[in-house]
């Protein structure tokens, strides 16, 4: 087991898949000569050349749209959006094309496409560059939306995504690139669409994903000092949403706190809570609590921004309230 950063994990996944399959190529803004705005693709251009590491104009619609077209010809493009906030510029191609073509043409089209995009707040980039709009994309059947919270999952899931024949939005979190974690040695893939137990516990179930896995883990460590053992479920995939480990855990703990970085309204927590009530109502011992971003556009000022984002203390407080 090597201990590497999220950035290295994603970079390794891309590198290995490009070495493995000639059809895999990457395209996006500054992925080539620059080496990636978050340095994920540093060294790729020199090694793989400009045919397979394609710098594009700042034209998100044609980045996603042409990646779809290339995928239809049998290639396996990985299109990078510099941030998920720019996905709105390519929204039509993500939701009206990528998510629909296989179904709408009666199963004739195959789109082995991965769109990578980092999101998240906390870097003082203000309202337009700090969003976590993951649920918007998870709303559309036909698209798969995944978002790993650990380097091991990031590497294994990205490799699976690249090998998949369905269009996949792979959402990263820009503040997680430095996060370190153990990664299995050698070749491995991680199945998509599967939630997992990140930390076992007996008293309360915390359901979360992406960056909030790390915050929830820190909260669980604090709670542990008070004798409270939280079980953390990392969803890893928002569509499809695998509720099995969530329900299993909830039937044991009978209490849940749902944590996400995005806004509360219509969020992941809302969806998960509804499903727990639908599938395990008899096991509910306390109202389910949600922790999420405050309902404001994220401000630039550091203090205000941190006030709006979910914090470890918010998770600790919510857990204590449901106990």
């Amino acid at each position: 087991m090597a201990r590497i950063t999220m950035r290295e994990a994603i970079s390794q996944a891309l590198w290995e898949e490009m070495e493995r399959d000639e059809r895999v190529f990457i395209m996006g803004e500054e992925v080539g000569v620059w080496g990636g705005t978050y340095a994920v693709t540093k060294g790729f251009y020199d090694h793989f050349g400009e045919k397979r590491v394609r710098d594009t104009p700042i034209s998100e619609a044609v980045i996603v749209g042409s990646a779809i077209g290339a995928a239809l010809t049998g290639l396996r493009p990985v299109a990078e959006l510099m941030t998920i906030n720019f996905a709105f510029v390519a929204m039509d191609h993500i939701v009206n094309e990528a998510a629909k073509l296989h179904y709408m043409f009666g199963g004739q089209f195959r789109l082995p496409l991965v769109i990578r995009a980092p999101g998240g707040g906390g870097r003082q980039l203000a309202a337009t560059h700090s969003q976590t709009p993951d649920v918007i994309f998870a709303h559309f059947p036909g698209l798969k939306v995944v978002s790993p919270g650990t380097p091991a999952d990031a590497k294994g899931m990205l490799k699976s995504a690249i090998r998949s024949d369905d269009p996949i939005l792979f959402i990263e979190n820009a503040t997680l690139y430095q996060l370190r974690g153990e990664v299995p040695d050698g070749e491995y893939t991680t199945p998509l669409g599967k939630s997992r137990v990140h930390r076992p516990g007996r008293d309360v179930t915390i359901v979360t994903y992406s960056k909030m896995v790390d915050l929830s883990t820190k909260a669980a460590e604090q709670l542990s000092k008070d004798g409270i053992e939280a079980e953390i479920i990392d969803l890893r995939s928002l569509r499809p949403l695998d509720m099995e480990p969530v329900i299993e855990s909830f039937k044991k703990t009978n209490r849940a706190v749902l944590v996400e970085e995005g806004w509360l309204s219509y969020g992941v927590g809302a969806e998960v809570a509804a499903r727990i009530y639908e599938q395990a109502l008899d096991y509910v011992d306390a109202p389910i609590k949600r922790v999420a971003q405050k309902e404001v556009p994220l401000p630039y000022n550091r203090n205000l921004e941190q006030m709006a984002l979910p914090q470890v203390e918010d998770i600790v407080k919510a857990v204590k309230e449901v106990l």
Binding site: F25, K51, R54, T56, P57, S59, A61, V62, V64, G65, S66, A67, I68, G69, A70, A71, L72, T73, G74, L75, P77, D92, H93, N96, E97, L101, H102, Y103, M104, F105, G106, G107, Q108, F109, R110, P141, G142, K144, S164, D165, D166, P191, L192, G193, K194, S237, P240, D242
Partner: protein
């Protein structure tokens, strides 16, 4: 061209016309739902362009796609069945009028958000360039599509990457009900290609004999590695934008004037005048087409509705 090829162009245009006339009737009878955008009047454009392609050349178009669907070789009965939403339709009844495609015929749809398929076309061409295929992507779109950002992003990228795309603007002079001069900064759409340093040409599109050789030359240029080429083909749609269009935006005399330039009539006269075909032969061909269209309607009407299970089929390739 051999005589057979000349006759085939005629046959295609008449087939498109008859299929759509029948479709309009079926629409009025409530047998076709949703929107129905007819291609009547524009037949010479896709017939001229697509008949000039090689089998490995890809075709992609917008929502006014019945004519293109027939020209790529989809049987009329599969088109008609799709219009009626049947399981035997070319898109299994899930796409309808605006979303027909047939991968085996190298036809990549049928895309209904104006301009959205132009970036896809750039990608199809990228796929061929990347894999070393000697193929051209023919991307057809209306004048209205040239005012949306997708057009500019896609056309720009095609030049930057020297992609093998033939951009074909079917300028039917109205984007829905808004005339080109009321919506576009330039009335000659080809000037937009000029702005991206893409070789271009504007031609009249009512005479298939004018369209076909220009398309052949343009395809050859692209195929020989010349990068993208842009054709603006001026045409006219005789019917409304879609069924139920009150057509307040144009004068009946204008429509009448263009109807005198009917692509089928022009080509009919050409074939007789050049002594390529006799009137009897053309009459005969028309009768064959009528019969084919009636068979197509019967096929579509007698085809089963999609099974309820089809609702959940083809959302994903790999269900997790």
């Amino acid at each position: 061209m051999k005589k057979e090829e000349y006759l085939n162009l005629y046959r295609q245009m008449v087939l498109i016309r008859r299929v759509e006339e029948r479709a309009a009737e079926l629409y009025q009878q409530g047998k076709i739902g949703g929107f129905l955008h007819l291609y009547i009047g524009q037949e010479a454009v896709s017939t001229g362009v697509i008949s000039a392609r090689k089998p490995n050349d890809r075709v992609i178009t917008a929502y006014r796609d019945h004519g293109v669907a027939i020209n790529v070789g989809i049987p009329a009965k599969k088109v008609m069945a799709e219009l009626l939403g049947k399981e035997s339709g070319v898109s299994k009844g899930k796409g309808g009028s605006m979303h027909m495609a047939d991968v085996e015929k190298n036809f990549w749809g049928g895309h209904a958000v104006v301009g959205s398929h132009l970036p896809l076309a750039a990608g199809l061409a990228l796929g061929d360039q990347y894999q070393g295929h000697n193929a051209v992507t023919i991307c057809m779109f209306g004048d209205g599509a040239t005012n949306i950002g997708f057009f500019h992003e896609a056309v720009n990228l095609s030049k930057v990457w020297n992609l093998p795309v033939l951009w074909v603007c079917e300028n039917n002079q109205y984007g829905m009900g808004t005339a080109v001069k009321r919506a576009s900064a330039v009335e000659e759409i080809r000037q937009k290609a000029e702005g991206y340093n893409i070789p271009n040409q504007r031609i009249e599109g009512m005479d298939v004999m004018e369209v076909r050789p220009v398309a052949e030359k343009a395809l050859k240029k692209v195929r020989d590695g010349g990068g993208p080429y842009f054709l603006e083909i001026v045409t006219y749609r005789y019917r409304g934008h879609s069924m139920g269009d009150p057509e307040r935006y144009r004068d009946k005399t204008e429509v009448k004037k263009w109807e005198e330039e009917d692509p089928i009539g022009i080509y009919h006269n050409y074939l007789l005048k050049q002594e390529i075909a006799l009137k009897d032969e053309l009459d005969n061909l028309e009768m064959q087409v009528e019969a084919e269209v009636e068979e197509a309607v019967e096929y579509a009407e007698s085809s089963p509705e999609p099974a309820p299970e089809a609702l959940y089929e083809n959302v994903y390739i790999e269900n997790l």
